[in-house]
């Protein structure tokens, strides 16, 4: 437990009927740090993230945010606790502009005779500032988001998270569908998010991406957290051996499994 832990999860377990998806996971998530979750499909990383996002109720364990125990029973609870999740399929509305997407659901309004009018200029200005801070360039922010590239959409989704005052941003495979140059830009966005003091949790299958951007890595296997490494203390080979189950320390476990 460190001073800058934003979220502490202890003993998190999740059963689906008789199936154990997650067992006894402890994890600290720190401000200003990019934490990567790795593991094969079905290893439990997505289930864990969904617990944090309020999409799954854990069967066991406790979660504390800034030292206070919290119950993340719904996505609304998670949002209220400052947790924003950016899903793989990016929940953006393709037909709306950048600013409209960033503000959708909590627009800035000015009431005239009780009728709420959008403060369009103010919303556009604020989104411009956020995009500048992220060093993300969108040449035509008034165009529908459907016309943007995958990387630009990631930037819009991150802006939305920041605008919701998210202090923990969870990203599920943010670079999965991107070309090389776009991937670079999104990884840079992830770093900048952490530099702003945000805690970032990243799910990725791409070891190279993870080593480029993450400060810490956690490997899941069969619903358990089997390894946690600082980037400086490990190398891709070791992480891959954890993911595949080939690491020597796992041999005994595999027998039991």
């Amino acid at each position: 437990m460190t001073d800058n832990a934003f979220l502490e999860a202890r003993g998190i377990g999740k059963q689906f009927g008789g199936v154990t998806a997650l067992a006894d996971v402890d994890m600290d998530i720190r401000r200003g740090e990019v934490l990567a979750l790795l593991g094969d499909n079905g290893a439990g990383k997505s289930t864990f993230v969904k617990v944090l996002a309020g999409a799954h109720r854990p069967s066991a364990g406790t979660i504390a945010i800034e030292g206070r125990p919290v119950s993340l029973a719904s996505p609304q609870d998670a949002a209220a606790a400052g947790i924003a999740t950016i899903y793989q399929e990016l929940a953006l509305s393709e037909n709306l502009s950048v600013a409209e997407n960033v503000y959708l659901g909590r627009e800035d309004v000015r009431r005239i005779l009780g009728i709420p009018f959008l403060k369009r200029a103010e919303m556009r200005r604020r989104v411009g500032v956020l995009l500048d801070e992220l060093d993300a360039h969108i040449p035509n922010p008034d165009m529908p988001v459907g016309g943007l590239s995958g990387g630009q959409r990631q930037a819009v989704a991150i802006c939305r998270a920041l605008n919701l005052d998210a202090r923990l941003v969870i990203m599920d495979e943010p670079t999965a569908a991107l070309a090389v140059a776009e991937t670079r830009k999104v990884l840079a966005l992830v770093r900048r998010l952490a530099e702003r003091g945000c805690a970032v949790v990243l799910i990725s299958h791409n070891i190279a991406d993870v080593f480029e951007v993450a400060d810490r890595m956690v490997v899941f296997r069969r619903g358990r957290k089997i390894a946690e490494r600082r980037r400086a203390d490990t190398d891709p080979e070791e992480i891959v051996s954890f993911i595949t189950g080939a690491h020597p320390s796992l041999r005994s476990l595999e027998h039991l499994g």
Binding site: S93, E94, N95, E100, G105, L118, N140, G146, G147
Partner: protein
């Protein structure tokens, strides 16, 4: 904003305007009476109710909904207004009753769709049957006729000496619809729901309330259209509103509002209404039996839908959105 307005006016609306003018030019060549002031006034006068219904239907299509019962809502509201006038009610009260009855029926339609979880097309076909029967029952097998002219007098009154009051009401309805669609969170939510309901819900949009509200708006405007209808015709026949749904849906889709939701153009709807009325009027003048009018409208609707398909499948979309 500038680019946005230019982008949305550029394509479809301009095409409609040009198509309308070309059609008028052809009709003018074919018939000497076509361009007479009397005939053109007739076109505008025939467009009034359809325009008001079309504005409301634009909201319904924006959320990815549909309502084929709009003509019947207009009919029931018209009967309510007519009966109030016959009973000697104040014309202002009668005028207000139209939108009120429309709003109530719109709320009912919306509730059936949203809370009954019934696809809008099926629900409104069912309601079309219910409302139509209600019209027969309310009229009791005969026309509602001999209505006093008090309502017509209000709408015919010239504000400032030359502008008929009815124009002001239509302009106000159009501007209000525009402001709601483009300048309020509700407008944004309509388009988000029409694009992808689940995404809108994830973003915190109250999806069910937005969908319900779209039908209330549409119903209210059907009721307002009924007020114009009574002021214009001063009677209600048995077949009231029977071609309204086809004409209105065709006009809205022609105007560039997506039948799949997520995209709406009120100016497009207005131009679509005018184009349909120009064609119907022109074909009648050059001697096409009026029985054929629904064919003209139906063909226009199908053409607009194929155009939308084409756009969705690639080619045109890239042109419309520009390169990423």
């Amino acid at each position: 904003m500038g680019a946005r307005i230019a982008g949305s006016i550029g394509g479809r609306e301009l095409t409609l305007l040009v198509a309308g003018l070309v059609a008028m030019a052809i009709f003018a060549v074919l018939s000497p009476v076509y361009l007479s002031a009397g005939n053109l006034y007739q076109v505008v006068r025939n467009s009034v109710e359809l325009l008001v219904v079309g504005l409301g239907l634009t909201f319904v299509l924006a959320i990815g909904g549909i309502d084929v019962s709009v003509g019947m809502v207009l009919g029931i509201a018209a009967i309510a207004i007519g009966n109030l006038l016959l009973a000697g009610a104040d014309p202002w009260v009668a005028a207000l009753a139209g939108p009120l009855v429309g709003a109530a029926l719109g709320a009912f339609t919306g509730a059936v769709i949203v809370f009954g979880r019934i696809p809008a097309i099926v629900a409104t076909i069912g309601l079309l049957g219910v409302y139509r029967t209600a019209i027969f029952a309310l009229l009791g097998g005969s026309w509602l006729s001999g209505l006093p002219s008090s309502l017509s007098d209000i709408f015919a009154a010239r504000i400032g000496g030359f502008l008929p009051a009815s124009y002001i009401v239509i302009l106000a309805a159009y501007l209000a619809a525009f402001v709601v669609l483009r300048r309020t969170p509700f407008g944004l939510h309509l388009l988000a729901v029409g694009n992808a309901e689940e995404r809108a819900r994830l973003a915190g949009v109250a999806v069910r309330r937005v969908r319900l509200a779209a039908y209330v708006v549409s119903g209210t405007l059907c009721g307002l259209a009924a007020t114009f209808y009574i002021a214009n015709y001063r009677n209600v026949e048995m077949t009231v509103g029977s071609t309204v749904a086809l004409d209105a849906i065709a006009a809205v889709v022609l105007g560039g509002t997506s039948i799949l939701g997520g995209r709406a153009s009120l100016l497009g709807t207005a131009l679509g209404v005018l184009l349909i009325r120009v064609l119907q009027n022109g074909f009648t003048i050059v001697g096409l039996p009026s029985l054929w009018q629904p064919v003209v409208t139906g063909v226009l609707l199908l053409a607009a839908l194929s155009l939308e398909r084409l756009a969705a499948s690639g080619g045109v979309r890239r042109l419309a959105f520009g390169a990423p």
